[in-house]
């Protein structure tokens, strides 16, 4: 079974974000159809939206439902559906050029997430310059400029988190 747990989404009580390992599903974005019971829940309107992120799936419940009563059912359906990743169909078809876009999405997830929070909490500024051919380039400014720990932060925190999401990463470069 895929490890997953639900997290609330800020100020959106109807949404629930199911956190799971990155790359569980081969695409990101809106889901057109999902396999099994989960697909039926989406078709019958119990779930109003299904969105795949790099390391999560967000489900939205119809206004009449409640997570306390229907959450357990949705979880079992999600577990079953994740057992059949080929049965998931995205709204936007996957094109060959999306590998760079996926890498960029992963990089943004890291830089806006907890690792980015850590850098910002120390007065640093980090931004994505490019993501191409499994190489990510970032720019570090703010208090990061001239900081002797910048190499450590980059490799121990940013690169590690990024490699978790995108195991094919070849290099992380700072400019």
């Amino acid at each position: 079974m895929i490890p997953l747990h639900p997290e609330a989404v800020d100020s959106r009580p109807e949404a629930l974000r199911w956190v799971m390992p990155a790359g569980t599903l081969a695409f990101t974005g809106e889901v057109r159809s999902a396999p099994g019971e989960l697909g039926r829940l989406a078709e019958t309107g119990v779930l109003t939206a299904l969105t795949v992120e790099v390391a999560a799936v967000t489900t939205c419940l119809s206004a009449t439902g409640s997570w306390a009563s229907q959450g357990a059912f949705v979880r079992s359906a999600l577990h079953a559906a994740l057992g059949n990743p080929a049965g998931w169909v995205p709204v936007l078809p996957t094109t060959p050029g999306t590998r760079d876009a996926d890498l960029a999405a992963c990089a943004l997830t890291v830089l806006t997430g907890r690792v980015g929070d850590f850098i910002r909490s120390h007065g640093g500024v980090v931004e994505l310059v490019s993501a191409h051919d499994d190489v990510v380039t970032v720019r570090l400014t703010g208090s990061c400029s001239g900081c002797p720990a910048v190499g450590f932060t980059l490799h121990a925190r940013v690169e590690r988190a990024l490699r978790d999401l995108h195991p094919g990463l070849r290099a992380l470069v700072a400019v």
Binding site: A8, V19, A68, A72, H79
Partner: protein, 656 residues
């Protein structure tokens, strides 16, 4: 079920007084050894009330702390690994948390205490508590140890993944306690998870794994030092040898270090006795104070240095982490006998006192194992036997006597403890075999914490708690029995004419005392039971001591002390050693010969002379049957082995 608004009638506001009624109640839930109790102590500053849960004798401690101008009640629940109860202890926790325990209010908020080094297992308990849909906060302990052992845990990550507040606390170093207080004060605004954790085992495992991933958990590496030490200490041969060596050293220390301190306490009581002699004009009051209280109870209290030293050593061994290794070593032997490790833990607690030992059998899932363990527990050498042993051993061999490099007194003491432990296990095994021939051994889970340097504070606290219990016992049951005995020893009163008629010189105080005692009510009782104990070499005065010690073992020392103090107030111990038979076939011979002392020692190893143990046994088993059986078999065993020992020692020493 209720939500945050439920059970909230505490809008009384901060009105100066300590209105504990209606104050919000928080319960600490957690597995044994997770650090619940040190958090509880740190939160409440030891202002705790202890008692029992209604109807059962599971220990309950409730304390209060103040935060934000309001009182908060904290309750330390018994340790539990989960809410699917297998033992009576866990049943209480489960019932209480589900509001099914009559007489105990459902807590308003729950703090789950989890050990960061065993997070995987702890999350199972967390998932069960979260399913109760009460306000929950997590306190993570031992993060310092996790980090030293190369692990890591992201607290904010854990907090977000679980959807409830998480606080890092290190109870005994007081880290995170103010934060936890503030958190508890704001229990109404704790975030709650949107969805209960799953119940399906596979889904639960996926949930747990995901939580651990989200909190970037890296488990602690096995502690290298601990592993290396354990390779020796848990070795079947070396480990056992070291265990024996530790125990031998233990009793050597008790004998050699406590003696000077004991001298000081003795001097103090001597000074008190002089005061009474000099300043109390009423003879009967002087007798009561001097003979009964100072001579009797004082004779027991002088052993406080030994008691304190013993508890100091025990809490040191426990704090360092050696005790559970010893339990592990013993478990190998025990399981061969068909007894489970939890039984040994209960027997270990009986080292201090059989009462907590018997209560500790509540962790045993099988009722038959519980009974078997209870039948053995009173044979473990409890601290009440210590004064008796020290007194008798002191009369048997001199402190200068040595066997090789070791003090003989300490060696004898070690043998007595060893005899008690072996007998306890044998007894438990026999009861188990008779009662439950083909019972299955339940799996047993015992944590081996890494070796730690215990804090001075926790050691002193444990030592103080146990010593206080000893002193309290001296002040209550021992004092009461001693006063009753004093009355029995001094009544009926005799007129001067009567004394003269019997040929007593009324001006000789000693002669009068002896006469009064010889013809007292107590003497009649002592003589009445003489036929029973005569084969063991006991005279009527020893008999009174033995009969009185049925209430509590220390009373034996108090009784002899009282009799000796009446004989020779200045030097009671010499009077005791020189005590002779007053009448009968042995008149004029010394009472405390080697065979008699040896018989007394063995008698005390086996006899169930403790009313508290009997009543706890009754309470825990629900019938008088088991305490009656225990009392009966132990008395027979005590008498039989004392008789054998008396004969053997008499033969060996040539004092028939």
């Amino acid at each position: 079920m209720t939500d945050a608004a439920g059970g909230a009638d505490c809008h009384g506001g901060p009105s100066g007084g300590t209105v504990v009624v209606g104050a919000p109640r928080t319960a600490l839930v957690g597995s044994p050894n997770a650090g619940k109790t040190s958090i509880f102590n740190a939160l409440t500053g030891l202002r705790a009330k202890t008692g029992n849960y209604p109807g059962v004798t599971v220990g309950r401690s409730v304390g209060v702390f103040r935060a934000a101008g309001q009182d908060f009640v904290v309750e330390d629940l018994p340790g539990t690994y989960g809410l699917e109860p297998v033992s009576p202890d866990e049943q209480i926790v489960t019932d209480l948390l589900q509001g099914r325990l009559t007489g105990v209010e459902l807590p308003d908020a729950l703090v789950v205490v989890i050990d960061a080094t065993t997070l995987w297992r702890s999350l199972r308990l967390v998932s069960q508590v979260l399913r109760l849909r009460r306000p929950v906060c997590i306190a993570v302990t031992l993060t310092d140890e996790l980090v030293t052992r190369g692990g890591r845990l992201d607290i904010p990550g854990l907090e977000r993944a679980l959807g409830v507040p998480v606080v890092r606390v290190i109870g005994n170093r007081r880290v995170g306690i103010p934060e936890l207080r503030t958190k508890i004060a704001g229990w109404r605004s704790w975030s709650r998870p949107v969805l209960d954790p799953p119940t399906d085992p596979a889904e639960l495992e996926a949930w747990t794994e995901s939580i651990l991933l989200a909190s970037e958990y890296r488990p602690a590496q096995p502690d290298k030092t601990t592993q290396r030490i354990d390779a020796v200490l848990l070795h079947p041969v070396w480990g056992t040898a070291i265990f024996v060596a530790v125990m031998v050293a233990f009793f050597q220390i008790i004998f050699s270090f406590a003696a000077p301190l004991q001298g000081l306490v003795e001097t103090f009581f001597g000074w008190l006795a002089d005061l009474v002699d000099g300043y109390v004009p009423v003879p009967w009051l002087a007798g009561l104070l001097g003979d009964a209280i100072i001579g009797g109870v004082g004779a027991v209290v002088v052993f406080i240095p030994q008691i304190m030293l013993m508890f100091l050593l025990i809490s040191l061994l426990e704090g360092v982490g050696y005790m559970c290794r010893a339990a592990f070593l013993m478990d190998r032997i025990m399981s061969r006998a068909g007894l489970e490790g939890r039984a040994f833990v209960a027997l270990m607690s009986s080292f201090a006192c059989a009462v907590p030992g018997i209560m500790a059998t509540r962790t045993l899932p099988s009722a038959k194992d519980r009974i078997a363990t209870m039948m053995g527990a009173p044979l473990m050498t409890c601290s009440a036997r210590l004064p008796v042993y020290i007194l008798l051993i002191g009369m048997l061999v001199s402190p200068e006597s040595r066997i090789g490099p070791l003090q003989t007194q300490g060696v004898i003491m070690f043998c007595l403890y060893f005899l008690g432990a072996v007998s306890a296990m044998l007894a438990a095994w026999i009861v188990k075999t008779v009662q439950d021939r083909n019972g299955l051994l339940m799996p047993f889970y015992m944590e081996m914490p890494p070796y730690r340097v215990p804090t001075l504070r926790s050691i002193c606290l444990t030592m103080w708690d146990s010593s206080r219990a000893f002193l309290r016992k001296c002040g209550t049951i021992v004092m009461l029995t001693t006063i009753v005995l004093w009355l029995l020893l001094n009544f009926p009163l005799h007129s001067t004419a009567e004394l003269t008629a019997s040929g007593v010189d009324v001006t000789d105080e000693g002669a009068v005392t002896s006469f009064v005692m010889d013809h007292s009510a107590a003497a009649s009782i002592g003589r009445a039971v003489e036929p029973v104990f005569a084969p063991l070499g006991f005279d009527w005065r020893v008999n009174i001591g033995v009969v009185a010690s049925l209430s509590a073992r220390e009373t034996f020392v108090a009784t002899l002390g009282q009799i000796a103090a009446a004989d020779d107030p200045d030097n009671p111990s010499a009077a005791l050693a020189a005590m002779t038979y007053t009448d009968g076939a042995h008149a004029g011979q010394r009472v405390f010969t080697a065979p008699t002392i040896a018989a007394l020692l063995v008698f005390f190893v086996y006899a169930l002379q403790c009313m508290s143990t009997v009543s706890v046994m009754k309470r825990e088993t629900g019938t008088w049957k088991w305490p009656a059986i225990a009392f009966g078999y132990m008395f027979v065993l005590a008498w039989g082995s004392a008789w054998v020992v008396h004969g053997v020692v008499a033969l060996a020493t040539g004092t028939a």
